[in-house]
């Protein structure tokens, strides 16, 4: 019942939003609906796994072996919570921003939310694919209509990239379906499959490419910095905060339990790609002058680490990645909100043109520094427990010890480099010589303070009490890791 509500409320609200004529009303409408969704998501998270309220199945396309079946497990809960939190926060901080045809803008945002919710709760492969695309289409229109000057080319590149990936995934899903005993698309029938190592290998790459493009993993990341830079910042928040998690969820739910042998066999390759991505993206981030591009590259590095931790095949790595999926979403949305505020206030995103903002904008500086600390995973911020668990996982990875150490060392370098570019950004924007032009601008407004306040509270609460999140994911992580045990035996 709850997953259905989580999908239909934003869907219906989004469709209705297109017909709102009253200027200004669409914001309150979108914010209100997103808040209702959040309330339902919170209720859903507090219900224990396996409760009937969290599952729903009805026949949909019997001829194709597909049912409309949705359900929330530990990972689903966490990501649903993230999605449900992200949208009200985003709507709050952009409450006063002006958009041309704002009703369409907010409508498409809500449709995107419906698609994301669907991806996170779908337990039928065809349904999963439907929502996978449904989440993409509104984002494409949002980027192309309200983005920067190169928006049409860049968002098209983004679309083609992900579309090719998802079509390959579709072939993989079709292949899996043809192998199942009952020719069904349901998750259970996929899990019951026993495929040969050769079949698993082929399937692994068909599907992994789709997920790797979405995350993105080096070398399939080239759409990402451009798309993040050119999209309107509210959309970038959704893309980088929530949408990239679709790829990680895909790996955990649709790849790992179905083809564990290939997952193990190709683990080293994927981990190597991820580690290359981490170091490469961090190095590029250091050289950036545009803060939007800097945050975009830092996101590649963070996602790379999560992917690595998954492929380390142990409980600690999986737990860390699951928790970090949530925390990274919160942190990066916080960073984007700051970027958006700075850009709107001062008309530039170049660090070389900013400077000394802390003097006249102390509130802004405090928020920014706190979020920046979370981005580099200092202890007592939310990212710390996640990254700690992930590193613990990677160093104990199911690969040769030499590889495990090398991976850990290079990924650790990524963290150090992360501190370099993040703190550098803080220094260049908020400290140093005061740029006289910017003194007149006001400090944070109330609605911005509310949005950022929620984020900072979340950062601190989950930083102090990481067990809150770990409790949600633990039963799920345990079931995932039993798959690893199966490979070893």
């Amino acid at each position: 019942m709850i997953p259905i509500l989580l999908i239909t409320i934003p869907l219906v609200a989004g469709l209705l939003s297109f017909f709102l004529k009253n200027e200004g009303m669409e914001r309150s409408w979108a914010l209100g609906m997103a808040t209702i969704t959040l309330a339902i998501a919170v209720i859903g998270v507090t219900i224990p796994d396996g409760n009937a309220l969290l599952q729903h199945t009805c026949t949909w396309l019997p001829a194709l072996g597909s049912d409309f079946s949705v359900g929330m497990d530990g990972m689903g809960k966490l990501l649903v919570l993230l999605t449900a939190l992200a949208f009200p926060i985003i709507f709050t901080t952009i409450f006063k921003s002006t958009y041309k045809k704002a009703n369409n803008f907010f409508g498409l945002m809500l449709l995107g939310q419906a698609g994301l919710m669907g991806v996170f709760v779908a337990t039928d492969a065809l349904l999963f694919y439907f929502f996978w695309e449904l989440a993409l289409i509104p984002m494409y229109f949002l980027c192309s209509q309200w983005g920067g000057e190169n928006r049409i080319r860049v968002s098209f590149k983004f679309f083609i990239y992900t579309f090719i990936g998802s079509l390959l995934m579709l072939i993989g899903l079709l292949w899996l379906q043809s192998k199942t005993a009952t020719h069904s698309f349901s998750l259970q029938s996929f899990y019951a499959l026993k495929l040969s190592a050769k079949e698993q290998s082929g399937l692994f790459w068909l599907m992994f490419i789709a997920f790797a493009i979405k995350m993105p993993i080096f070398p399939l990341h080239t759409w990402q910095p451009d798309a993040y830079e050119q999209s309107p910042t509210a959309v970038t928040m959704v893309l980088s905060g929530v949408m990239v998690k679709m790829g990680l969820l895909g790996i955990i739910r649709w790849l790992l339990p179905v083809m564990p042998i290939a997952f193990h066999a190709w683990g080293d390759v994927v981990m190597s790609l991820s580690v290359v991505g981490i170091v490469y993206a961090s190095l590029i981030a250091i050289r950036q002058d545009d803060i939007k591009r800097l945050v975009a590259y830092s996101s590649i590095a963070h996602i790379g680490l999560m992917c690595m931790a998954l492929f380390s095949e142990n409980l600690s790595g999986v737990q860390g990645a699951l928790v970090q999926m949530f925390n990274h979403g919160i942190n990066i949305i916080g960073l984007w909100i700051m970027v958006d505020i700075i850009e709107k206030r001062f008309g530039t995103r170049k660090m070389s043109e900013l400077g000394g903002l802390a003097k006249h904008h102390p509130v802004m500086a405090i928020f920014f520094v706190l979020i920046a600390f979370a981005n580099i995973a200092l202890p007592l911020t939310n990212a710390f427990p996640g990254e700690f668990l992930m590193f613990n996982g990677v160093i104990n990875a199911q690969t040769s010890p030499l590889y495990a150490i090398l991976f850990t060392v290079f990924a650790g370098m990524g963290i150090i480099l992360g501190a370099v570019y993040t703190l550098n950004m803080v220094r260049k924007i908020f400290f140093g010589e005061v740029n006289a032009v910017y003194q007149q601008q006001t400090d944070l407004k109330l609605h911005e303070q509310i949005g950022l306040g929620v984020i900072v509270i979340l950062i601190l609460i989950t930083g102090f009490f990481p067990q809150l999140l770990l409790n949600i994911t633990e039963p799920f992580a345990n079931t995932v890791t039993t798959a690893f045990v199966k490979i070893k035996s």
């Binding site: 679309f159 579709l170 079709l174």
Partner: protein, 461 residues
């Protein structure tokens, strides 16, 4: 049987309606009413299995559930086409009533090719479809391009019909019968005679020509571009789908026994068709020509129904025919309203005509195969059946990559409509019924994309 006879009668009625009615509007209403009558007659026969006319065809025609369903889809699509574009036929020439008459005759041909059991009926059906099409292509008499297209179509079309007759002759020589359901005659080594194989190949080539599969597609862009746009819309959709039904019936029921002999060949034709159609479409400057190449590309996907010899593939083809026809008719209906057929002609359409732009977008998304539209599920059916037929992953992956290419040119139109502005906004006058019909088209595309069972469940009972 109802559809076959009533459509022929209505064709004659429409021919004389030009003498009786002086007003174009009256002729149009008569045609629309006739099409509705045809649909009802067919649906009534489909549900009650109780035809108005009982004619013994000696087993040459067998109207099964599959044919009924296809005929009703074709008639419904033609009805929608009439509602959207019949008014624009006035601009083509003075012989308004005759255009409708020809289209009713084509519908009669469609009813034949959808239900043939004998190669003779197939031949007659294809000729009944083709000859009115030659006329419709050249109906814009003062336009040189239209004349050229008509002549080209006629010459190449007759040549391929010649090939088909030759093939039928060979097959008759080998089999001793025109009936395709007879078991194949085999020699001592349990092989079919060479004569039969040669006949089958000739049939394959001529059918590939009719459905504009590469490398037999060269007539398509010129004919589709030269013909008056209203008729291109009809030719590229309903007629093409009907020819595909004939193609699938012939190869599934007639030659399915020896599928190993032609399967590889069809696979290669699919690959070439997808490649040529999609890649060439990318480079077009005119939306009308782009749609011509897109119809070649879509033909490549429909050929999968021939390739995968299963009952489900026929079912998939029905869905594909409906999805493709609806979407293309919708886009053409909007295109005809514009003065400028280039991509730039669509610039800023979302501002001036948001409804038209919205429906066109849904049609384009459907053609590109995006989920929630009928186009996705129909492509999905095709790929699923092909994969389950086994040993052809290369072809499926190739098709999917080509589908990704197709996004490139379909989205160019969307980009023009939504993200580009124009200095010279066109004034487009559309009536309310036109808008309502467009919304119905969009709704049908989405309903079929979510619940295809509404149409297809009839096949299971």
């Amino acid at each position: 049987m109802n559809a076959l006879i009533i459509s022929a009668l209505l064709g004659v009625v429409m021919m004389f309606s030009g003498i009786i009615f002086k007003k174009n509007a009256s002729i149009r209403y008569l045609a629309i009413a006739g099409m509705m009558l045809l649909w009802v007659a067919n649906a009534w026969e489909m549900c009650t299995a109780n035809p108005l006319f009982n004619i013994d065809t000696k087993g040459m025609i067998d109207v099964d559930r599959f044919s009924y369903l296809f005929i009703s889809i074709a008639i419904a699509a033609t009805l929608i086409y009439f509602l959207l574009s019949a008014k624009d036929m006035e601009k083509v020439g003075v012989n308004y009533a005759e255009y409708f008459s020809l289209i009713f005759f084509i519908t009669c041909g469609i009813a034949l090719v959808a239900s043939f059991k004998s190669l003779l009926i197939l031949f007659i059906g294809i000729e009944i479809i083709s000859i009115p099409l030659y006329i419709l292509t050249g109906s814009d008499k003062r336009n040189l391009k239209s004349n050229e297209a008509s002549l080209k179509y006629f010459l190449l079309g007759s040549f391929s019909t010649g090939l088909m007759l030759m093939g039928i002759t060979f097959i008759y020589g080998a089999q001793g019968t025109f009936n395709i359901t007879q078991p194949l005659v085999r020699d001592a080594a349990d092989k079919v005679p060479m004569l039969f194989t040669a006949g089958m190949l000739l049939m394959l080539f001529s059918m590939a020509f009719k459905v504009s599969a590469a490398p037999f597609h060269f007539w398509t862009p010129d004919v589709y571009d030269g013909a008056p746009s209203v008729f291109t819309s009809f030719m590229a959709t309903i007629v093409k789908a009907a020819l595909f039904i004939a193609f699938v019936r012939l190869f599934n029921e007639g030659f399915g026994e020896i599928e190993h002999q032609w399967k590889m060949l069809v696979g290669i034709i699919i690959a070439i068709t997808l490649f040529v159609g999609n890649i060439t479409a990318v480079f077009q400057q005119s939306v009308k020509r782009m749609l011509a190449y897109s119809s070649i590309a879509q033909a490549g996907f429909m050929l999968f129904a021939v390739y995968a010899v299963t009952a489900e593939s026929k079912e998939g083809l029905l869905l594909y025919a409906a999805a493709y026809s609806l979407a293309t008719i919708g886009i053409f209906a909007v295109l005809i309203k514009l003065n400028d057929y280039t991509f730039d002609g669509f610039n800023g359409l979302a501002k001036t005509q948001p409804l038209l732009a919205g429906v066109t977008t849904i049609c384009l998304l459907s053609l590109a195969g995006i989920p929630l539209t009928a186009g996705f599920l129909s492509k999905f059916y095709m790929l699923k059946n092909t994969l389950s037929a086994g040993n052809n992953l290369w072809l499926v992956i190739f098709a999917v990559l080509m589908a990704a290419v197709s996004v490139f040119y379909y989205f160019r139109v969307i980009q023009a409509m939504y993200f580009k502005d124009t200095d010279t906004p066109q004034t487009i006058n559309v009536s309310l019924p036109f808008k309502i019909t467009l919304v119905v088209v969009a709704a049908l595309i989405i309903i079929l994309g979510i619940m295809p069972g509404l149409v297809l469940q009839y096949l299971y009972f």
